[in-house]
């Protein structure tokens, strides 16, 4: 009797049952296997017992019911299992059930229309021993197959994870580097051109901060799916990290510029579709920089770096068309890095100074001053804050500078407080940058500087731009309120140039609104400027805030502001920013 050489348990047993069917002219045949609690066939250990389960029947059904519903068969199998030896039953005249034990593995039942003779039954017992060995082999094989399959699955998963980004499923940075290296090589061999597009979302961070990472992740996932739609055999898409994506364009011909422009347009179109997440609609844009290979470099690292640099340039210029990398961009960066080094040196060498521009009331009495940073470059002379502050903002140097400003201002206030100050003089204000504000210990730093210099907290005020406040609105409100509770006032600088929204202004517990100099310049001649100033003044009054006009340079401007109801001023009409030594002379 052939058992067959199939290794899968069910297949092997089916072959065996079919042979039995043909050789023994059976009416039906059934195999029951001992199984573990998960229903998986097992080999019984010596003296071990386990429940058996119907494993295979030919034919599959009996009188329109599964065989498991046949009470006669179930009772017979139960009796066979208990007896653990061959049994038989003539269940109706001329029809029989014969039961056999498959050692350590299960039970076998034949249904016949004749009585199997003793010789056949005896022959079966040695066949069943062989069948048991085959069962064991199949079980071992099955478990090996399962193990190999699960290992293959894990290997596949690991291989996938090694190449793909966990959130979006796009290629990851490492794999993109590899793809890029291959693409460069192919481009060189096949004399083709390729491009690498570096994409960075604009103003994604505020969404992530305000709406939470789950929303941010959903947006990234949606965008990833959209960008993936661009991929084909010549285009690969990867997430490089955070809100940065990279697109690799391969096998470009002489019209590569056209293809790249087209790709940038498509990316912008994909971003133009609103992102609907949790019933909210978000509109996003991106900045794109790109570099070409092998024209601009033949190394993956350089190309990514170049595209990244070009992206920053596009972001700085607010360009939506994408920027191709040029070597001048690197030069510019080098210069900026050198400039940052100069600033660091200047800070260490005491080249930075605080100048103070006094502030006056309508009675020409000094009421305070704004501390303004001045840097005297040893080679270039006095540098404009409009140049070095944005550069310091891009690097973390702004934190060191901001801290120095805070401490120096406190040191100066300490000196001032020792003077005979007019009663009208109240505060010295310093400017605070966005990076300083988001430091978790910013308030501690402020309080420490006040304490260390032994000054009254109410002498210090902080100036924050309205754009900076809006970007971190909830945290800002909390911080300003907390500072106010510690007697430190905050003012809103450059008011009118940004959002100027009532909805947030009424929530910010600031004490002073500073009208931006752009509305003050020639205000007496500009209906528009005076209208805006009037609006800001009435807004301040309504919200119980003081109003101070910046950049007052002429008597005409002053008179106009007085008429409009603004009674605090700062500007060249009164005084230019003064070095501390000269500033303190104002109190003599």
């Amino acid at each position: 009797m052939a058992i067959g050489n199939k290794l899968d348990l069910k297949t092997m047993l089916k072959v065996f049952l079919k042979v039995c069917f043909n050789r023994l002219d059976l009416m039906s045949t059934h195999i029951y296997m001992y199984c573990d609690h998960k229903g998986i066939p097992i080999k019984l250990a010596p003296l071990e017992s386990a429940h058996y389960q119907s494993f295979l029947s030919i034919p599959k059904k009996n009188q329109r019911e599964p065989w498991t519903k046949s009470t006669m068969l179930s009772n017979f199998v139960e009796r066979l299992n208990k007896a653990q030896k061959n049994i038989s039953l003539e269940y109706q005249p001329g029809k029989y059930l014969f039961g056999y034990i498959i050692p350590d593995h299960g039970l076998l039942v034949f249904e016949t229309h004749y009585a199997l003779n003793a010789e056949v039954q005896k022959a079966l017992s040695s066949i069943l021993k062989k069948l048991a060995i085959s069962c064991y082999t199949s079980l071992v094989h099955d478990s090996l197959v399962k193990e190999v399959r699960s290992r293959q699955l894990i290997e596949k998963k690991v291989a996938f994870q090694a190449q793909h980004d966990g959130l979006t499923g796009l290629f990851n940075r490492q794999h993109m580097n590899k793809l890029l290296a291959e693409a460069i090589q192919n481009a060189q061999i096949n004399k083709k051109i390729g491009g690498i597009l570096f994409i960075d979302l604009n103003r994604f961070k505020p969404i992530n901060d305000a709406m939470g990472h789950s929303v941010g992740d959903q947006i990234l996932l949606t965008l990833a799916n959209r960008l993936y739609s661009l991929s084909n055999e010549h285009i690969d898409v990867a997430r490089f990290g955070g809100d940065e994506f990279v697109i690799l364009l391969k096998d470009l011909n002489s019209n590569y510029q056209e293809t790249i422009t087209q790709a940038i347009t498509e990316v912008n179109q994909l971003l133009a579709i609103p992102f609907i997440i949790k019933n909210h609609s978000y509109k996003l844009s991106c900045s794109i920089g790109y570099a070409l290979f092998p024209l601009q470099s033949n190394t993956a690292n350089n190309l990514i770096k170049f595209a990244d640099i070009a992206m920053y340039e596009a972001k700085r210029e607010k360009s939506r068309q994408g920027k191709q990398y040029t070597s001048s961009m690197s030069d510019k960066i080098k210069r900026r890095l050198a400039y940052v080094d100069d600033m660091k040196l200047g800070l260490a060498n005491g080249d930075f100074k605080l100048f103070y521009q006094p502030q006056y009331n309508h009675n020409d009495e000094i009421i305070g001053a704004e501390a303004l940073l001045r840097w005297h470059h040893p080679i270039y002379g006095t540098e404009s804050p409009a140049v070095y502050i944005p550069i310091a903002e891009e690097s973390d140097l702004i934190l060191d500078i901001g801290q120095w400003v805070l401490e120096q201002a406190c040191r100066d206030i300490h000196k001032i407080e020792k003077l005979q100050l007019p009663k009208t003089f109240k505060k010295v204000s310093i400017n605070v940058s966005a990076k300083q504000l988001i430091q978790y210990d910013f308030q501690d730093k402020v309080m420490r500087a006040i304490k260390e210099n032994n000054i009254s907290a109410e002498r210090l005020a902080l100036e924050l731009t309205e754009n900076l406040l809006v970007e971190n609105i909830e945290d800002s409100i909390q911080l300003i309120a907390s500072l106010k509770a510690n007697a430190i006032d905050c003012s809103i600088d450059d008011f009118g140039t940004g959002y100027s929204s009532l909805t947030y202004l009424k929530r910010i517990p600031a004490s002073l609104l500073k009208i931006d100099r752009s509305f003050v310049a020639k205000i007496e001649k500009s209906d528009e400027s005076s209208a805006i100033a009037r609006m800001i003044i009435s807004l301040g009054k309504a919200l119980n805030m003081d109003i101070l006009a910046e950049g007052v340079e002429t008597i005409e401007e002053l008179n106009c502001l007085k008429k409009l109801g603004c009674y605090q001023y700062q500007g060249y009409y009164f005084s230019k920013p003064l070095p501390f030594n000269e500033f303190v002379k104002l109190f003599n």
């Binding site: 042979v19 023994l24 002219d25 034919p59 329109r64």
Partner: protein, 379 residues
Amino acid sequence: MLNGPFTWYTLSDTFDDFKKGLKLAQNCGAKSLMVLTCTQNTYPEQAFNGLLKTCSLPVFGGIYPRLTHQDTLIEQGALIIGFKEEYQVSVFPDLHLCKSEEALEGLINLELEKNKNFGAQENFLMFYDGLMANVEDFIDCLFECLDHNITIAGGGAGYLDFIQRPCIFTNNGLQSNAVLLVTLPRKITTSIAHGWQIFKGPFLVSEVQDQTIQSLNYQPAFDVYSQAIESASDYKFQTDNFFNIAKNYPLGIEDINNNLIVRDPLLSINGQLQCAGKIPINSMVYLLESNINNLVNAAEEAAISLFSRLTSSTEQTAMVFDCISRVLYMEGEFDKELQVINKHRTSVTLFGVLSIGEIANSDSGVIRLFNKSTVISAW
């Protein structure tokens, strides 16, 4: 209104005559038609397909090497039986595309599901392409998948040159690689006989691939087979006379109850024997022999056994699926077989086909493929 089955046959091989017969059958009040034609006919395939497709009644049947009507052997022509009941026909097409047991099971289960597992129907005729390779897989699978026992009789259609052509009739035209299961309105009774006896053996089937025996007793199958015949007869195998000798010496697989299932060796290729049916590995096979008398006697016994069991007067139709190789063996004396069957006929009609493979139930109820056998059925 028909009282019994409408029967029409012709010995003419012309398409015009067939069309006349079909027209008559369609107008006789029948609700379904069995159409059987001979391979000798030269019906234009396209026009024939058109006739089947436009036939207003359910139609089933096939093209067979020969047909029989009572004791007449029809070597060319056609036979049409019109039934007063509407027979349900299930078509299993394109079975050659089912390369695995799972695929076959899927196809059969789909059809069974569509037909609600044939409901309470237990009686079937089976027409199939006799040259399709997997008919045994089909019947094994059908037996496994059906949720109740059925009684069945059938035979393989096709051409004796063993070139596969469309040979199964359906209302969608001629088909190859197809099986038709025709549900009968009444109980079918069957009787099987072959008349072959053990001549030599047993031989162990030591290597086999489906229908091809590669080795017997661990030696090339053809060597063992030819030596056994040549040593006991005057036959000498040449390059071109294999079938002429082999038709006299089929192989027999003996089951536990000493029943012989005959397997007809058709070809010898590279020392292997290709048979008209599967042979299980490690089975014991015998060389069989017979003579015309034994074959005729066996057929007569089958006829007596069948017709004596018919007690109901409702069983008016008898159909014979007789293996074409019996004609090839008996040649001019095959008429004797038809005569003895017809002699014992109690049914109104008796007709049949000479087939390539026969289908019937074994004693245990399993559906089996037989070779060189006679299956007589009545319903």
